[in-house]
């Protein structure tokens, strides 16, 4: 059994505190076909939660509901205790989209892109100040991209690009980081950097992470909870409890994907 190795932080996560994001009995359907049904989910400060499920299980839809870009057909979503559409300081949520659409018609450097992560917090009409540049430098450093900061993004590998998008989300110093399949097809070095940057956010900044991924081996030891979704929530608990049911997250990398496939 692999216990979370963030023993100094894990007890904090169990303290009663208001959830950063919360879904209460949330359902959503595209037309007549339900995608997400009766979902209850909460992520608290300092928690590292993985959301897994077979393809088409409603994971991305649930993320969009939590972010407020979709509205639930029934039930309610609260982001920082308010309906997502009325949250003004949205920079408190960092978002790393799945396969970010970034056409490279015009080369933009890693630093230019990461700097855009400061805009919402700073006020988009204001020039970036010293603190903003420091936050951008810190974000670049935490994903290990400082040496590549002034290179055009489209010259970087897929894994490096993904780290740049994580740094963009980090730049706003978010309280909640939501990542949609960020490490699909990413090299081992990037996965290692990815893990340490998430742990850094949780340990140093007491942020919370909600990670959608099929590939949990890189972070298996750090997770507080695993949530399994297939339209409904089938499991929500500590990785150890899931392992007790015979599903391994990290020891055999194939186990979780195979199990999810059987679910699908």
């Amino acid at each position: 059994m692999a216990a979370p190795d963030r023993s100094a932080v894990a007890p904090l996560a169990r303290e009663p505190s208001d959830p950063l994001v919360q879904a209460e009995d949330v359902s959503f359907a595209y037309g007549a076909s339900p995608v997400v049904a009766d979902v209850d989910l909460a992520v608290h400060p300092g928690e590292f939660v993985a959301l897994v499920g077979p393809n088409g299980s409603g994971k991305s839809t649930l993320l969009r509901l939590l972010l407020g870009t979709l509205r639930p057909a029934s039930g309610r979503v609260l982001l920082f205790g308010r309906p997502p559409e009325s949250v003004r300081d949205r920079w408190r949520v960092g978002y790393v989209p799945q396969r970010p659409v970034l056409t490279s018609e015009v080369p933009a450097t890693v630093r230019e892109i990461v700097s855009t992560g400061r805009l919402a917090q700073r006020g988009w009409w204001r020039p970036l100040g010293r603190n903003d540049h420091r936050a951008v430098d810190h974000a670049l450093e935490s994903v290990g991209l400082t040496p590549l900061a002034d290179r055009p993004l489209n010259e970087l590998s897929g894994g490096q690009q993904q780290r740049a998008f994580i740094a963009r989300a980090f730049a706003s110093e978010p309280e909640l980081l939501i990542l949609d399949e960020p490490i699909a097809g990413v090299d081992a070095e990037s996965q290692r950097r990815f893990r340490s940057s998430l742990v850094h956010l949780i340990e140093q900044h007491r942020g919370a992470v909600l990670l959608v991924s099929h590939e949990l081996s890189a972070v298996a030891r750090d997770l507080d909870r695993v949530v399994v979704l297939k339209e409904r929530i089938l499991f929500d608990g500590a990785p150890a409890e899931l392992m007790a049911e015979g599903v391994s997250l990290g020891i055999h990398q194939e186990d979780l994907p195979l199990w999810l496939e059987e679910l699908g």
Partner: protein, 284 residues
């Protein structure tokens, strides 16, 4: 009024050439600045579509006896915002939205003008551009619009970059995506109308796109691309206008041809450099 540039040598020694030079250089600065964002947004031809809508505005002005620049500006802003609305609401893909406005604009302009006095010199001035007949007021207007466009594009450069690069993420991050897109549309319309007296409606989009196409190969950052594009735009304006005077050519077309020639040279040099590098590394 004394011009700060009235001591220039041939071919810019005459006042009308100096006015044309000031206005053309302004176009060389603001058109590529806006164009860099449009190219990244994959809306390279939006300047053309808005230009054709502006042409129908010229038609309205000629027919109604109003200042064609003013009516062109009103219709160009409406057209640019309309294209943006169609694109943003996904009612039409970007290029289909452009085509709708492109053809409706030119058709309306032709009908309006045929209803009036027919195609006359006044209309030709807007279709093909006549910088040599620009008045002091024209030049001041163009310089004012240039300052507004460059100022807005500089102050809001990070917002515009965020939105043109990753609209979905910008929305989730809480940035004013709709405002940024509409602002870009309005700035495009202002740029088109300001530039149409110089390079003409038919060629206005060229100055938004050609310098950027060359700059993409030279710049190593978004800011770097804008700087290169502006440098190439200014060079094309000065060299094109000089060549037009010396060889008595159409100034608008010559300016655009210089910008196209720069693109060809940059492309050829870049291919040559790449080939030499590959050869040095022993690759075919």
């Amino acid at each position: 009024m004394p011009w700060p540039i009235d001591q220039l040598p041939y071919p810019f020694e005459l006042t009308f050439m100096q006015r044309a030079l000031a206005a053309s250089v302004a176009v060389g600065i603001f058109a590529p600045t806006i164009g860099t964002y449009l190219v990244q947004k994959r809306l390279s031809l939006v300047g053309d579509a808005v230009g054709h809508v502006a042409f129908s505005g010229v038609g309205v002005g000629v027919l109604a006896g109003l200042a064609p620049v003013a009516t062109a500006l009103v219709l160009a802003v409406a057209g640019a915002v309309g294209i943006e609305q169609l694109r943003a609401r996904k009612k039409a893909t970007g290029d289909l939205a452009l085509a709708l406005f492109f053809y409706s604009g030119i058709a309306l302009g032709v009908v309006l003008i045929s209803y009036g006095d027919g195609l006359n010199a006044d209309v030709n001035k807007y279709l093909f551009g006549q910088p040599l007949t620009a008045s002091s007021l024209d030049v001041l207007l163009i310089l004012g619009i240039a300052a507004a466009i460059v100022g807005a594009a500089f102050v809001l450069r990070r917002l515009l970059l965020s939105v043109v690069i990753d609209e979905d993420w910008s929305t989730v991050a809480g940035l004013p995506v709709r405002f940024a897109n509409n602002l870009l549309a309005v700035l495009t319309a202002c740029a088109v109308v300001a530039a149409m007296r110089i390079v003409g409606i038919l060629l206005v989009a060229a100055m938004m796109v050609l310098p950027v196409a060359s700059a993409q190969a030279l710049g190593r950052s978004f800011t770097g691309v804008i700087r290169w594009a502006v440098a190439i735009g200014v060079f094309a304006a000065v060299a094109g206008l000089a060549a037009a005077r010396v060889w008595d050519l159409a100034p608008g077309g010559t300016i655009v041809l210089v910008a196209a020639a720069v693109f060809a040279v940059v492309g050829a040099v870049r291919r040559g450099v790449t080939a030499r590098l590959l050869q040095r590394e022993g690759r075919p």
